[in-house]
Amino acid sequence: MATREVIKFLSNPNIGGQRAKYCRFRKFGIKHIDYKDPDFLEQFVNDQGKLLPRRITGNSLKYQRRVATAVKRARHLALLPYVTDLLK
């Protein structure tokens, strides 16, 4: 007899569950995004050097905009590439 208590353990409840996204700038109180820190900005960019969308990074709109400007500034200063393959 499979009671409800047994069934509860037959499947791992953590499988397939999505971890809640959050804005790291809000969560950790980061107010300023440095354009001179390419290692940090690389987290918001894909392998081709394109900006990652908000739905993946989880940034709030305000900080997504600031990330975008910071990445663009870094590109201008040749800290990040405009176009590449295999950035990471």
């Binding site: 300023h32 001179k36 800290l79």
Partner: protein, 183 residues
Amino acid sequence: MRNYEVTFIVDPTLSNDEIKSAAKKYVDMIKKDGKIIHIDEMGSRQLAYPIKRRNTGIYYSVEFEVDNGVIIDPMELAMRRDEALLRFLTVKLDKYGVKYNEDKRAGKIGKVVKKKKKVEEDNSHQRRKKKKKKKPAQPPQQQGQKQQAAPAKAASPKEAPAKKEEAPKKDAPANDAGTPPTS
């Protein structure tokens, strides 16, 4: 008074003196009208893409305070005309930017700290995952080699029997009491 920050890349093929004089030229220009807060010599860096056929550049970043950007136009004009510079970027700093630079100079923000924060977060998730996986994975091997399935699968049967033992016990007293609710 406003805070600005100008970052520029000097041609690395010049001699050391020329590089220093190129940087000093703009520092002096700023000093005339404004106040220099900090000069950050970031040194030679690999460029992400070639500029004027150069693959490296010498980075300077100067933070300064000026009345409403009086000197910025003439400074940028001079920079545009300067052959020794590969790139430049002038940015207005808001109060958070000023504080960020202060903290960075005080060593509160340094790259290492930032990385650690991020790495710790990422690792903490990974570690938790690993721990969860490792713990169930090890005991089955000690008990016997019957179950060589994935650790996640191994976890559920291991916990399930324990609950199964408890479940009948709970049912039994309920039946004994003479009040079977749903069965």
